[in-house]
Symmetry: D2
């Protein structure tokens, strides 16, 4: 029973079916009808005109998105534990050609407007310092916290005030939407977001994420950067098909809700052991290494996160009985 | 009846089946058993110890491969019509951080050792010029010519003499093997090749190419570069499965032979109209625009390549009746 | 008697005097009054509002200038023998983060509008090719030819028509102005030039070139790029002083005229041996290696340029008797 | 009376004289006899074989030095207030092509071995994180503290243990040598330093710093990178002459001693107001803004550094009476 990461989950059968359905010759790259329909599909979902590009990984989505917002001599404000800082081996630096990440603090990897202002305020306005051009947040955060519509707008307001563009790493955007109940529009452009990395792979997809530009003009250079980064697959229809299958009938939301529900069940079992409130599909639980060993002995696999702390990630396809069993085991510690 | 490009072909059913078969939770990234078996699978195929990394595109494979061979201040000899120069929007420059491509001439996009020596000989050995560090050839070439084992070795010998590492863009390596009858080993490391981009997507795959390092130590930094380029997919098993399905029972060779046979049939029909001998799965045919229009009126689609010249690409899945019909139509011009 | 290169000449005494005169504590970087006066000084010279930045080398000026005009995923049209392609070890690729140089032909390293159109016309308008964003010419060229006002305007018109920005490498701009008799304004912005690398080092300076932006808004990002490139010297007043000394009383033009006159004298002596007409301070002369050896035996040093061809460069400080002696020696061959 | 920065000081007359003495035609770039003598001159000073390259700025020296030690996908440990992090507008990221700086804490911008170990220990050994390849310290630090020979060796030992190369930003290396009494060799390679940015500009030079490679093989690629960065001046002899003049008869040490003495005098006057002990030529003094205003009213100029804290920098050419006057003024507060 694996609670390591939603990264490792299976692909939803409807996604596989969609791949099989497009298995005939078609126009290469993103010239097929499915790829060309993405702008429309996401414009409907977000209730405004957007440009939507498929890419294979969240890291590529983030790095391309950031590169569209920040020049090589600029800097980007993010949390010190943001995925773009910690887990992408310098992909933002690679795609931006060396822009700096300015690290801000915040409980649970969540940025506050004041944290953003603090980091930006420390930068002198002269050529000796890489000037801030953008801010990036992760929703839900790397610790499973969500930014509500109000939270996002507060960052968005600070960004506009500080002259920053605004990127959201939405590797678990679906979980954030499911959890907050906000509309996709409310959680993004209506609250100031310029570019969204919309994740599908953790949530039932196989190899397709969407990079959403709420200012479609930003997408133009990105089309070249995507090719130049080796991310313009020749058989793009198999990526577009995945994404469209996820959007159809709200599969993306259903999957996220299922994962969130599992997390909530574990959170209730963990009670006061919780390090952070459970707002998405990740649960951080305080326990001794002996306790962790007892869980593992019962067949549960997960990562130790910090001394006296484990991380549990619930996937869209996590069997309910696994969740129930783990909840019971935690309660029984 | 589409003869535009093998890029747009369907995915072989065995590849789709393989994808479906790995559809359960497994270790993320390239930690699953299939990804970890690639080194062994390719070491057997190439009869030597290799390191093999999956990536999603040929452009990524080429750019990562070149970056492993040439520093930012160096240069790479290639044909002036090489894919890496013409059709990758500067991906080699991006991944090498600005190395220069030094362009050599040659009929049918095929490099000769003398062309390589000529380009390198024109570079002064001082810091004002980007010194050559590598040579790259495409086998089969962008015009459907193949390098035989002897051809490759001649380039390899020149490379060693000139102090260059040797990359092969094998987007259509399968077609070259099928056409020349040489072993994969003979066409590569036994003839001096250091790194091979081994293409599967044009040949029945969906979204997986293999980057083969005959000097496995070169792969180490590339693992970081792959992540940093956003090319380390979290569900890598779906890529490894594609490649392993292509290798199983020689599917990659069968598919390439089918495509080559179609090209040969068209080549025979084209006769003296041929611009280049047909050695792989591309056929370049001289004809007037009126003649091209007549073919199109009969339902055949293809690209005009140059004034008075069309390009026909035959895919692994090209129906035989389409080939026969086109051959007859060409004969009837 | 050295005719190798104007690169190696001495520094004009007035330039050294100017350096000595600023030798007291002053504001660091480019905050001193001399550095701050450059915009005005060059705006007067060019009869329009410009932004002027000092840098230490022509390579830095060219690379920073090009980076202000072309994104990493773009390309720049230049002559195949342009200094930026041949002699800067990839500095343009470094500062542009990997933009491609598209090479055009032309006698004497001189571009024609048709050559530019030919190169640009060969680029497909799709994401697979690095789209042209700029054109760069060298005036005077690497072979001592000049672009007249009409020549520059013809390139400028082509650039505007093709959507390209226009850079001029003016390492020997002074020689071009002296030779053509055009005003600095006529040879640049009035004919479409956006950015000029204005060389002083070959012409009597020590370590200061000027990068001139006829569209001052382009200078803003360049100020950061200059710092980031390590080119913002802390004691910038010693660079500004050099440039202002060169501008004072037309010293830059006087020096260039002296060099050009020497070249003309050698050109007349060379007569039909000339490879190119003499229009600046370089003279390319056909002669056998035996003839070259006879000149060297008489104490004249210079580079062999190509089989049967030598290059003579006349510096601003070349003693007249050296020129006369060489002219006589050439006539006497 | 300016106590802003040693960056803004005058050039020592012997340096200007040396420039004047080389004012005749000579071989261009670094082919002149002075430039070619630098290796020998520094090898003597450091009592071992070194390769020494001139560059124009400390930022260029640092960035080139770091690029010789760390690949684009790697990271470099430095203090969170290091000049390379705070005041070079991303030059290290530019020259390394996007390597990350990992920031460590430490009083007075001084790194401890434990701080280095702490930062490195937090990095997982997998491809998702940019692996540490180098550590960089500034001696004297940005707050005027010095690393003694033992301090340097402790970092050097930690570096070797952690598999890191070791760079020293010696913008004020002369001040550190003068202050600690250690030999140049003891403070560098004998204690594990691989590359040193040896500053002269703050200490009486005009526009020449030296980049010293204690492993001369590291210098080879740097020669290309220097050219590619636009830092290979054509009249390099004027830079070499500055450096050699500084080395002659220990002028570099005399100048540093003079500056340090001034700082010591101010430090004694400041007494318990000192934020850090005075070990080089910078003095940080606690005072109210009213007190600072009283100093300014007496003709002393300096920067406010933090609330309730000013920074005083004493230059090599600071008149003694200015120092005495300021000391008296501080005592009289």
């Amino acid at each position: 029973m694996r609670f390591f990461s939603d990264n490792a989950a299976s692909v939803h059968p409807k996604v596989l079916d969609a791949i099989a359905r497009v298995n005939q010759v078609d126009t290469a790259y993103d010239g097929d009808s499915l790829s060309r329909s993405l702008d429309t599909a996401f414009s409907e979902l977000f209730e405004c005109d957007v440009a939507a590009l498929w890419v294979s990984t969240g890291t590529a989505a983030n790095a391309l998105g950031l590169a569209s917002l920040c020049p090589p001599h600029g800097s980007i404000v993010c949390h010190s534990e943001a995925h773009i800082q910690i887990d992408e081996c310098g992909a933002p630096e690679f795609y931006t050609h060396g822009a700096k990440l300015l690290l801000a603090p915040g409980e649970g990897a969540k940025l506050s407007p004041d944290a953003v202002r603090g980091v930006v305020g420390a930068i002198r306005k002269d050529v000796h310092q890489a000037q801030p051009h953008a801010v990036s947040i992760t929703n839900a955060t790397e610790y499973g916290l969500t930014y509500s519509e109000n939270d996002v707008r507060a960052i968005g307001d600070a960004a506009r005030e500080l002259g920053l563009r605004f990127h959201m790493d939405g590797a678990r955007f679906a979980n954030a939407v499911a959890s907050t109940g906000a509309t996709p529009a409310d959680l993004t452009w209506k609250s100031g977001v310029d570019v969204l990395s919309f994740g599908f792979v953790k949530n039932g997809g196989m190899s397709a994420e969407a990079l959403i530009f709420f200012d479609p003009s930003l997408a133009e250079a990105t089309r070249y950067r995507r090719k130049r980064g080796g991310h313009l697959l020749s058989k793009g229809r198999y990526l577009a098909a995945q994404i469209l299958a996820m959007l159809e009938d709200g599969l993306w939301l259903d999957n996220a809700r299922a994962a969130n529900e599992g997390a909530n069940a574990l959170g209730q079992a963990a009670g006061t052991r919780l390090v952070y409130p459970v707002q998405a599909n990740e649960v951080f639980v305080r326990m001794t290494s002996q306790e962790a060993a007892r869980l593992r002995a019962q067949g549960f696999d997960f990562y130790d996160w910090a001394p006296g702390e484990i991380r549990l990630v619930i996937s869209w396809d996590q069997p309910k009985h696994e969740v129930s069993a783990l909840a019971a085991a935690i309660s029984g510690l």
